[in-house]
């Protein structure tokens, strides 16, 4: 077994009402790698994320993390193994503060329980103090200003900051595998570039983290990913470097229509 392979799927499939949304997909990712996942709308990228985080259960196939099958495990257990994700449509709790949102990423590391909540306020103060410093340093990686906004409800923040908070929340879990679902959706190009630098920074700071990124924006994919997998109709149609994949005829057809070669 290839030791550097952190995560892989075997013939992962799921059907919704007769429609094969994901069709025998095999993916793998090594430690420290950034894998770009591309494909037109509805090609099954997000569904794959939902499968490997335990939100959906695959119809057939299996997936492994650090050599262990996670098939059928509940979502919270998979998360505790070290897989974190962001969502295509942001799923932050908009009424809660930035800090609270990041804290939830640290949830399972806290040894703190209901009884402690009522009686052990010292412990809480200590834990909050540590957690807050960690949250600040995570937020600080992106932007010092975010630290100042830590007490504000997320709902009052601009889109890019929300994305950052979401990534921080995922990073707070100290994951070994990070799944980013269209982090750049709804941003200006400048913001997007900024965010990509941020993601790079994050990866540099946490040694050995693997990232799978779903993205529509090819600029992002090209600049950030080590390897690219293209999907169409739930099937994997190409795999390789960005250039290889983007030159692949099937990919161009999937993206641009049959006459895509004209461009």
């Amino acid at each position: 077994m290839d030791n550097s392979r952190v995560f892989w799927t075997e013939d992962l499939s799921i059907a919704f009402g007769g429609l094969l949304a994901v069709d025998r997909v095999n993916l793998d990712i090594s430690r420290g790698e950034i894998l770009g996942l591309i494909g037109p709308n509805g090609s099954g990228k997000t569904t794959i994320f939902n499968l490997v985080t335990g939100i959906y259960t695959p119809s057939t196939g299996d997936f492994f993390f650090e050599g262990e099958s996670l098939l059928g495990k509940p979502a919270y257990q998979i998360a505790r193994k070290g897989i974190a994700r962001t969502f295509q449509i942001s799923r932050l709790c908009l009424d809660l503060s930035v800090l609270d949102n990041v804290f939830i990423g640290m949830h399972y590391r806290q040894k703190y329980w209901l009884v402690d909540a009522v009686f052990r306020r010292r412990l809480l103060a200590r834990e909050v103090s540590q957690a807050r410093d960690r949250a600040f340093s995570l937020l600080g990686v992106f932007n010092e200003e975010l630290v100042d906004l830590a007490g504000k409800p997320v709902g009052t923040l601009p889109q890019i900051d929300r994305r950052r908070v979401e990534i921080c929340r995922a990073m707070a879990m100290e994951p070994k595998l990070l799944l980013l679902d269209e982090p750049s959706a709804g941003m200006t190009p400048e913001e997007m570039t900024e965010l990509m630098q941020d993601i790079k920074k994050v990866q540099e700071e946490s040694e050995g983290i693997s990232i799978i990124i779903v993205e529509h924006d090819m600029t992002v994919i090209r600049s950030i990913s080590d390897r690219v997998v293209a999907l169409n109709y739930g099937r994997k149609i190409a795999e390789g470097t960005f250039e290889e994949v983007s030159d692949n005829a099937e990919v161009r057809e999937a993206y641009l229509g049959k006459r895509g070669h004209r461009l």
Partner: protein, 308 residues
């Protein structure tokens, strides 16, 4: 009476009860479709329908309008349906729609508050509103026997009328342009607007239909039981909602199935279980809970995928 006779007689009882539950359940189903709102005041529209009929009857008596019973009955039904329907639309505009986008609890509480307000308004405004009110006897009172079972013409008329109303609603919803608009709004409000459907008007019409059908049930209830009272709506609302859920919320046939099933459940629990009469609702509600847990989409509902 033989066992079979009793069984048959009880089935008739259950069906009569069930048909009224069904008529109330239809309203819940319609509202949930178009507005995603559970209107807990709906039971009070049922009650209001009965009182509107009483009021119209009093007016008719006062002005000396008295054709034959059939004419009066038709006048009562149509008048009450219109009046109750109008009240339904007005309250929808004022109370229900403004909160239909708010969290579910808010709309739930608003409709509950609306129920209280309607109930109390009837009690306070109707002359001697807190007393039980007798209904005029306008239905033919004869009966015939099949074996040992008594079948009353009145039962046949009410049951037939109930079925007819449900079929009419069904026709309205499934066979007319207006119904198509209502269904379209229920399935995809925005797409319906893109087809040129006036959303607000469609919601109004839905509430008009729902309230009018509840009014029919209220009048039938009055004729069948010979009385009505201002506080019969609250329980009816809960049962109507239960029936709609058992049948499958959002499905008109489901409302019928659910209503009749609930009626039969109550009747047979009362008749067959030890201490059944006093505990029949316990039994019926237990079935409701089991349904919600093990088949939340009801008997006729479809499975829904949650999108992530």
């Amino acid at each position: 009476m033989t066992f079979l006779d009793i069984l048959l007689q009880q089935s008739i009882n259950g069906l009569m009860l069930g048909i009224m539950y069904s008529l109330v359940a239809v309203g819940f189903t319609l509202y949930f479709g178009v507005l995603d709102v559970i209107n807990f005041a709906h039971g009070d529209f049922f009650m209001l329908g009965g009182f509107m009929a009483l009021m119209l009857y009093a007016i008719a008596e006062a002005v000396g309008f008295a054709g034959n019973a059939l004419v009066v009955v038709i006048y009562l039904f149509i008048g009450s349906m219109i009046l109750t329907g109008v009240v339904g639309v007005v309250t929808e505009r004022v109370c229900v729609k403004p909160v239909s986008k708010a969290p579910m609890l808010i709309s739930l509480l608003v409709t509950l508050g609306l129920g209280i307000a309607i109930r109390e308004a009837v009690r306070v405004l109707y002359p001697r509103g807190s007393d039980p009110k007798g209904f005029p006897t306008l239905m033919p009172q004869g009966s015939f026997n099949v074996g040992n079972i008594v079948i009353r013409y009145e039962n046949l008329i009410i049951f037939g009328l109930g079925i007819a109303v449900i079929m009419a609603v069904n026709f309205l919803i499934n066979r007319t342009k207006m119904g198509a608009a209502i269904r379209a709004v229920a399935q995809d409000g925005e797409a319906a607007m893109m087809m040129g459907v006036d959303l607000d008007r469609t919601i109004d019409i839905t509430f008009l239909i729902g309230s009018a059908v509840a009014a029919v049930a209220g009048i039938m209830n009055g004729f069948y039981y010979g009385q009505t009272m201002f506080n019969i709506g609250a329980m009816m609302g809960v049962i109507g909602f239960s029936a709609a859920v058992i049948g499958g919320l959002g499905n008109i046939y489901g409302a019928i199935v659910g209503g009749i099933l609930f009626g039969l459940l109550e009747t047979f629990a009362a008749a067959a279980l030890p201490y059944g009469a006093e505990n029949k609702r316990v039994f019926a509600f237990l079935i409701v809970i089991l349904f919600l847990v093990f088949r939340p989409t009801g008997i006729l509902g479809e499975k829904i995928f949650e999108r992530v």
